[in-house]
């Protein structure tokens, strides 16, 4: 399982199909949340998923690191198929970072300890190294001076940037963002988006569920529109915004761009 980390530097070429989703279905009881999803994402691609609430977009990205189980079809992340096998789940989670809508920082640990927790206990990095690395990422998200504070002492925007740094400290190959700006006040959205744009520029594979259409336009390689548990449309942003094919997409864009 450690070979994934070591092989990272070797793989200069972008690996095609780092995430492959094939004919995936998911049910909550009898409710069909995700219907026959098919998607291939290459390394270094930046995907934005949008759609009305309840369309299953959050559920979908939570399936990619197995916070939710799918019942049919296949999900293959970096050549590892997600099954009930705990070892597979653990190795996938090590390679996939996730940022939540409500940050989910650990309130009993300082910012630095939040960042170092997983490198130390999962990657078995020496503490000094882990801390140095964490400080680097905290600088990258522009809050190195808050390292020894507790999450409760930070603003929402700062907390979300810490959450991004915490995910990055595991040096993941893929980052998942689950509506990272929806719980933030308007003036804090920008500081988080800036960090995400900077990250996109560095070549990270990103899947981002968001309503920030400006962000989609600037950084996305592809925009995916979901509705009713299905992928309705999939297109590069230029095409998606100027010339949507499906009626449902047009309707959604009209509603969201009216303001």
């Amino acid at each position: 399982m450690t070979q994934h980390t070591e092989s990272k530097d070797v793989q200069a070429v972008n690996k095609p199909g780092i995430i492959r989703v094939e004919g995936m279905h998911k049910w909550y009881g009898n409710f069909h949340v995700l219907k026959d999803l098919n998607l291939t994402i290459d390394q270094g691609e930046r995907i934005v998923i949008c759609g009305p609430s309840g369309s299953g977009k959050s559920t979908f990205i939570r399936c990619i690191n197995r916070l939710e189980e799918h019942q049919q079809g296949r999900i293959i992340v970096d050549d590892v198929e997600l099954t009930d096998d705990v070892r597979h789940i653990d190795s996938v989670r090590r390679e996939v970072g996730m940022v939540f809508q409500h940050f989910n920082l650990f309130p009993h640990l300082t910012v630095l300890e939040n960042c170092c927790l997983s490198p130390i206990w999962v990657r078995k990095t020496p503490r000094r190294e882990a801390e140095a690395c964490a400080m680097e990422y905290l600088e990258r998200v522009k809050i190195p001076d808050q390292a020894n504070k507790y999450p409760g002492q930070l603003s929402g925007g700062q907390q979300q940037r810490v959450a991004i740094a915490r995910a990055l400290c595991m040096k993941p190959k893929i980052m998942l963002f689950d509506e990272p700006t929806s719980a933030l006040d308007p003036e804090m959205i920008k500081e988080v988006l800036d960090v995400m744009i900077e990250l996109a520029g560095s070549g990270m594979t990103m899947i981002c569920v968001t309503h920030e259409m400006g962000f989609a336009k600037t950084v996305a390689d592809r925009v995916i529109f979901m509705d009713g548990g299905e992928i309705v449309e999939e297109a590069p942003p230029s095409e998606f915004f100027s010339n949507p094919r499906e009626a449902r997409t047009q309707q959604f864009l009209q509603q969201i761009l009216q303001h």
């Binding site: 996939v96 970072g97 939540f100 650990f106 997983s118 930070l154």
Partner: protein, 415 residues
Amino acid sequence: MIPPGLTVMLFLQGSFSGRGMKKQTIDSRPTGPKPLYDPRVRALFFQVISLAAVFWVGWVLIDNTLSNMQSRGISTGFGFLGESAGFGIIMHLVPYDATMSYGRTFWVGLTNTLLVSAMGIVTATILGFVIGVARLSSNWLVAKVALVYIEIIRNIPLLLQIFFWYFAVLSNLPSPRQSVEVGGALFLNNRGLYLPGPVLQDGFGLVWGAVVLALVAVVGVRVWAKKRQLATGDIFPTFKVSIALLILLPLVAYFIAGRPLEWDLPALKGFNFGGGITLIPELVALWIALSLYTASFIAEIVRSGILSVSQGQTEASKALGLPNGLTLRLVVIPQAMRVIIPPLTSQYLNLVKNSSLATAIGYPDLVAVFMGTTLNQTGQAVEVVAITMAVYLTISLLISLFMNLYNRAVAIKER
């Protein structure tokens, strides 16, 4: 003549009349309200009135009490504490016999209260945590059994449970001659529970030395393991090694020193047992009932503490790749403990207070000995009640002090 709620009534009247005046402050001149309408003056006035009322009530009570005591021929003061008590107590941790003073009976009662409380706290905590975790177990049967236990035990009065263990179970045990016996060392009969008592021989010092050595070694291993982790990142199984050290070193020393520990086994002598340690049935019944009862409350506290850690926390931890065991240890338990400790300490306090039910079965605790027999013999109601209440108040204040310190130490920092 003076109802106890008088202060409250005065407080109430004062504030009601205050409401009437408030409307008129609107008309008052811009130079500031007259003293009568100044809220600060009024507040001061009410406070002085209520304080005076409290003092007055206190004075009337004291006056009544003094005249009542005089007419009944009871002297006042704490002089009685030095007089000889003249009654025996079935169990005492401090040396005591009937010739000793009433003051001594206080210490006997207090130590007995503390003994049963400490025993109860230890067993209730262990049992409560086990049952609380069992309640959340993925094993359906275990979870249901824990639920049934909690729902039955905590809905039945503690006094009834104490009676049950004392009068229905322990009194129905066989006589000493037909004792329930475990391995020839532990005997249970209607006279109590008999345990072997340890007798330390020469050379046991070596074992003590080994214990100290093991403690030092554990500290050393922890420091070393942390250093190594800092340097290389390898995680050393500190916990398992510590436990092994703590058990093995004293054990080895014990054998090297030639097994310098003998057990004084209880043995039947005539109609009763002698030797070893005796727990009288009153203590056993009280201990069992207090432990079982308090454990059912602790179990619920533990359960709700663990459930209080939000789903988002476990999800975030899993998303970071921490496996279930580490998620529990590094994320869930540290947060759950903050929720668990405050109500847990108040359960401990309840246990200490509930140990006073000892009176009902004759276990000589503080209330039974001091507030019971001593008070009856001396008639010094005011002094005895005051001392007893002061003891419980002190215990309560000490426990709340500890709890506040702990809360301050672990409080999650907020803006």
